[in-house]
Amino acid sequence: FSPDTEKSRIESSQLAAKFGPVPKPAAGVQFGGVMKALSNEYWQLLRAGYVKGGAKYGVKVDAQAPSNESDQIGQLSMMNTMLGKGYKALLVSPQSDVNLLPGIERAGKTSLVLNVNDAVAPTAQHFVGNSQYDNGVSVANHLLKTFPKGGQVAVIEGQAGVYAAKQRTLGFKTTLAKNAALKVVASVPADWDRQKAFTTARDLLRRYPNLTAFYCNNDTMALGVVEAVKASGRLGKTLVFGTDGINAAYDSIKKGELTGTVDSFPVLTGEVAVEVAVRLLAGQKLPRVVATPQALVMKGNLAQYEQFKK
C-alpha cells in the first residue's frame, strides 16, 4: 500500500463537494492522536490542527507523543495503552512503516484507525496526508524550470532508512534526472539535526563552491544549511529548500534567507484528519486515501499560504 500511488484517492478539498457537509457526531465522542514526536514543530502544528478540527466538528481530541522520534516500541506501547481508553477513532502517525502494525490490528476490532502522514502502515485502511514523494518532486520541478542550463545540487537527507527521508529524496532525484545537466553531486544524511546539517553543508560548500541549490528533507535541517550558506557568503547564490512549512521556515523566507519550503500544511492536515474520522464514523464510504494539499512556498507566493498557519 502506498498512498503516493493509491488509486482510491481523493483530494481533501473535494470532500465537501462529493460527500456533503460534515455530519454531527454524537455528544462526548473522543478521538485519540498518537503522534510521532513533539520535538519538531511540524508535529506540534499537526496537533494544533487536531485540536482545531476537534473544536470545529464537535469532538474532543487527546493527542500524545512518545518522548523521541525513534522509540518505536515506546510508540507502540503508547498506542496499545491508548487503545484501552475507549477512543472512537485513533489518528496515528507511525514512526516507521511497521512499528504500529499490531496496534492497528488490535484497534481494527474496536475503533477506527487513520494513518495520518509520514510513515505508512501497509495495513492502514485509511490514510490522510500528503504525498512524501511529491514533496521532493515539487522542489525538483522548480529547479528544472529555473535552471534549464543545469547546475550542481546537494541533498541533505533525514535519518537513514526513515520513510519520509527515503520518499522525499527519491521523488526529488527521480524528477531531477529529467535534465542531465542538473546534477545531484552529493546526497548525505544529517539525521534531521540542525547542527549536523550545518556542518555537512559547510563541508559541501567547500567542495562545491558553486553549488546551485540544497534540497533538505525537512525545515530544521534547511535552517541549519541556511546558516552555513550565510557563513560561506553564498546567500542568494546557493538556494536552500526545506520541507514541512514550519513557522520558522516562513520567517526565514520572509527575511530572504531560506529560498522555499514544501509546505504540507500540518494544521490543515490535522483538521482534515478529524473531519475524515467524523465522516467515516457516520458511515460515509470515503476512498482509502485522502490527500491533503502541499505547495512549494517561496517569497513570491508566501502571502497566499500564510492564512493556513493558524
Binding site: 500524545q64 518522548s67 516500541i73 496499545n80 495503552t81 484501552g84 511497521v98 512499528n99 499490531p102 532508512g161
Partner: protein
C-alpha cells in the same frame, strides 16, 4: 579453633540486605501498581498489563539480561540495538525467500552470536575498550542492516512464524513467557553454574580470576555472545508482533536496557549483577511509561516525570537498603 566467632547471623544479615535490595524495587513496583490502580483509570486490567506494559517490558528485559551479564564483567554493549536490527532483517529475509521459520530463527540467532563474538574478540584479543568497540559496531551493524535491505522494511512475514513467537500459551503472550523463562534461566546460570560464578568474579577482580588459572577472555567473550543472541531473540519476538522487520529497528535499546539493568541493581563497575533485578527494572520503566500515557501527560512533561521517577525510585531504593 575455639576462637571462631558466631558468624551465622552476620552472613544471614548480609544476605538479607542483599534480598532487601531486590525487595526495594519490588516494593516500589507493587506500591506503584497499587497506587495507580486506584488513581489511574483502566490501569488495573489484565489487558493493560499485557499489552500496555508487557511487550515493551518483555523485549527490554530480554536485552537487559544480556547487558547485565556484560556489565557484570565490567564491560558494556552499545551495539545491541543494531545487532537486533541486523538479525531481524536477515531472519525475515530468509523467511521471505521461503525458508522455514525455524531455520530463519536459528540463522538470526547465529547472526546475533557472530555479532557478539566480534565484539568479544575485539575486546579480549585486541584489548580495546568495550565502550569504543561496541560504539563502532553499533554504527557498523546498523550500516550492514540498512545496506542489506537497502533501507526498506521486510513486510509480510509468514503467519506460522507470527503465531509461533507472537502467539499465546494458556492466554499468556509468548514474549512475556519467554522473558520470564530467560530471567529464570539466566538467574540460575548465574547462581548455580561455574560460568555464572566466573562471570561475577571477573567483574570483581579479573586479574585474580586469571591468576586462578581461568581463561578470563573466554568468559568475557561469552558474555558478548550472550548479549548478541539475546538481542537477536528480542528482535525475533518484536518482528513476530509487528509482522515485519525493518533495518532501523532497535534504536535506543541499549540505553533502556542499561537503565533496566542498573535500576535493577547491577553495578556498572562490574562484579555485581542481578537478572531478576533487570526484569523488575524493565517492568518499572514500562509501567511508568504506561501510567504517564494513561494519565494523558504531554510528551514534555512525560520527560520531566520519567527523569524524576527514575531518580526518585533510585533514591527510595537507596534509603530502603539503608546506609
Amino acid at each position: 579453633m575455639q576462637m571462631t566467632q558466631p558468624s551465622a547471623p552476620n552472613a544471614g544479615r548480609a544476605a538479607m540486605i542483599e534480598r532487601l535490595r531486590e525487595a526495594g524495587i519490588l516494593a516500589i513496583l507493587i506500591l506503584g501498581a497499587v497506587a495507580f490502580s486506584f488513581t489511574v483509570p483502566s490501569f488495573f486490567s489484565v489487558d493493560n498489563a499485557i499489552t500496555g506494559i508487557g511487550l515493551s517490558a518483555a523485549i527490554n528485559t530480554i536485552v537487559a539480561i544480556g547487558l547485565t551479564y556484560v556489565i557484570m564483567t565490567g564491560g558494556i554493549d552499545l551495539s545491541v540495538g543494531s545487532t537486533a536490527a541486523l538479525s531481524a532483517v536477515i531472519g525475515a529475509d530468509l523467511m521471505q525467500r521461503g525458508l522455514p521459520p525455524l531455520v530463519a530463527i536459528l540463522a538470526a540467532l547465529a547472526v546475533g552470536a557472530v555479532a557478539g563474538l566480534v565484539n568479544g574478540l575485539l575486546i579480549t584479543r585486541v584489548q580495546l575498550a568495550p565502550f569504543i568497540v561496541t560504539l563502532g559496531t553499533m554504527t557498523f551493524y546498523r550500516g550492514l542492516a540498512l545496506s542489506y535491505t537497502n533501507g526498506q522494511p521486510i513486510l509480510s512475514l509468514p503467519d506460522s512464524y507470527k503465531q509461533s513467537l507472537g502467539g499465546t500459551v494458556l492466554g499468556l503472550p509468548i514474549p512475556l513467557l519467554a522473558a520470564l523463562a530467560l530471567v529464570a534461566a539466566f538467574s540460575l546460570i548465574l547462581k548455580f553454574t561455574k560460568t555464572g560464578q566466573y562471570i561475577l568474579a571477573i567483574g570483581g577482580n579479573a586479574e585474580a580470576v586469571r591468576l586462578s588459572g581461568i581463561n578470563v577472555d573466554r568468559f568475557i567473550t561469552l558474555t558478548y555472545v550472550i548479549s548478541g543472541v539475546l538481542a537477536a531473540f528480542a528482535a525475533l519476538i518484536l518482528i513476530a508482533q509487528l509482522g515485519a522487520a525493518e533495518p532501523i529497528l532497535g534504536n535506543g535499546w541499549e540505553l533502556s536496557a542499561i537503565a533496566a539493568a542498573v535500576v535493577g541493581g547491577t553495578s556498572l563497575s562490574g562484579g555485581k549483577g542481578n537478572v531478576v533485578g533487570a526484569l523488575l527494572g524493565a517492568l518499572l520503566l514500562s509501567m511508568l511509561q504506561n501510567v504517564l500515557t494513561l494519565l494523558g501527560v504531554q510528551a514534555f512533561y512525560q520527560l520531566l516525570a520519567t527523569g524524576l521517577i527514575i531518580i526518585g525510585a533510585m533514591v527510595i531504593d537507596r534509603y530502603t537498603r539503608g546506609r
